[in-house]
Symmetry: C2
Subunit: 286 residues, 2 copies
């Protein structure tokens, strides 16, 4: 794999740590990308474990960094936060034919596309699971102790990438994830566009299918608000619950009265997610 040099776009002090935005050329995505990293104060002295956060539809690397309030707890726990963009970017990257918010730019769905014209750039699965960690671990004080989390489309990405790469992560969590994309409108549109009509190819990107089929070697925490406009139709949380039950997996899937799909929900519970991941990243050896 070719790693590209990182160009620092900005750096800001936050809770005694560094909130940094980088630009780099992604060989996997075949375009220039930006991502954000929070390095806690502990990274001055030694490599720190990292939580990869995958954002939802329409987001960039900046939504989580500015709205979740995660840096406070990450600085306490000594966790790096890695915040990638949600799709390939740039003039040469094809978008939805109608510029829809739910497919194409800002909506890569964390899959490796096989359909033209998307396959040339939309390889977000490999970017998140392989290229980005290799780059970061080579160039920044970040260890190979990794956890993965995300929101909505990014919750789907976190579950799928974590379940399929258990050897590369210690724990998985998600807020309001798209749990069963082969059975919801967002997922069907995206999987058809990126992978084509053959639904057999879709199943590798469906967290409920994966969990039911193979269980999980990793601990899982999921939070879902019951006042979420996209629940249950797009999110299908019950499919994930059923998959966990059928596989005998003790996933913690919590439903919260009154909370919606927004960052106010994420902010309210992100501390619990960071402490969950820290148990597996910081407090365990190996």
């Amino acid at each position: 794999m070719t790693t590209s040099a990182l160009t620092k776009v900005s750096e800001q002090l936050c809770f005694g740590g560094k909130q940094i935005r980088f630009s780099h050329h992604s060989a996997v995505l075949n375009c220039q990308m930006q991502f954000s990293v929070f390095l806690p104060p502990q990274a001055e002295a030694a490599k720190v474990p990292a939580l990869y956060w995958l954002s939802g539809l329409t987001c960039t690397d900046e939504n989580f960094s500015s709205k979740a309030g995660a840096q406070r707890v990450a600085a306490e726990l000594g966790l790096a936060l890695i915040m990638p963009d949600t799709s390939p970017r740039g003039e040469g990257v094809p978008d939805d034919a109608n510029g829809a918010y739910d497919f194409g730019l800002g909506a890569g769905f964390y899959v490796n596309a096989t359909e033209p014209p998307f396959a040339e750039h939309y390889q977000m699965y490999d970017y998140i699971a392989a290229e980005l960690p290799a780059l970061l671990e080579a160039e920044l004080p970040i260890s190979d102790k990794r956890a993965i989390s995300g929101h909505s489309m990014g919750g789907h990405g976190a579950l799928v990438i974590g379940l399929r790469n258990a050897e590369r992560y210690r724990s998985i969590s998600a807020f309001s994830p798209i749990c069963n994309p082969i059975n919801c409108a967002w997922g069907i549109k995206a999987l058809t566009g990126f992978l084509g009509e053959d639904k057999a190819h879709w199943q590798q990107y469906d967290a409920s299918v994966l969990l039911a089929a193979k269980g999980s070697a990793l601990p899982i925490l999921v939070d879902q608000g019951l006042a979420d406009n996209f629940y249950p139709a797009q999110l299908q949380t019950e499919a994930l619950v059923n998959a966990a039950n059928s596989a005998g997996v003790a996933a913690e899937i919590r439903l919260h009265e009154g909370y919606d799909h927004s960052y106010y929900f994420i902010a309210s519970f992100i501390e619990q997610h960071l402490r969950f991941h820290a148990q597996h990243l910081v407090l365990t050896n190996g």
Copy 2:
């Protein structure tokens, strides 16, 4: 004073409290306005004290609510957060002739304008100090125990309104305030535009002038980052320090190595500001 009915635009659960956006007709500003309120869980049972937060140039009521992470601590302490807009709004409201970011819409500077065409709407001082609290205390579970804070232009507004209305507030704080607007480019432009050329009229809106002349009956906390692009030229923090010293006021004015003008700075220290205000709002009687 005429109070107008409040129209709820949105309500979202956050840390067990309610993040609400209201619309109302402001008689003082002569236009329709939006503002945001965070009601902590304690407001279900009794009236709660309130921190008024004044935002900076280009902001609306949403910057602080989405980026500062203040709701977590406000929910713990039982403080309401009141987040007004930064200027009158709407089609009939005049803006800077060139649409500049630092005067007019999004840049009302918390003064009562006397110059045409601005005087008809730009009465932000009276809106913040009188109309909005009266409205909120009549219609929401918010008590008349008030504190005031803000950022940049809003830090200027908080200091000026707090110093001139000590009987109405318990404590004042600010992040990166414009401390001496009669002597910086932002202030000179705004005060000329809203108040005219006679600088004698400007002094009532200059925190350093006010503090030097009359001291402060209220406790003051100010945080300023030393990597702030606008420090010292626009912010003139030293003028406030000198004013406090000459008046014999024990204002706490802290300079922080490495922090900039952004919400990452505010997020890093907002908890300390909320606990400072809570000491005077919650823990004291009367």
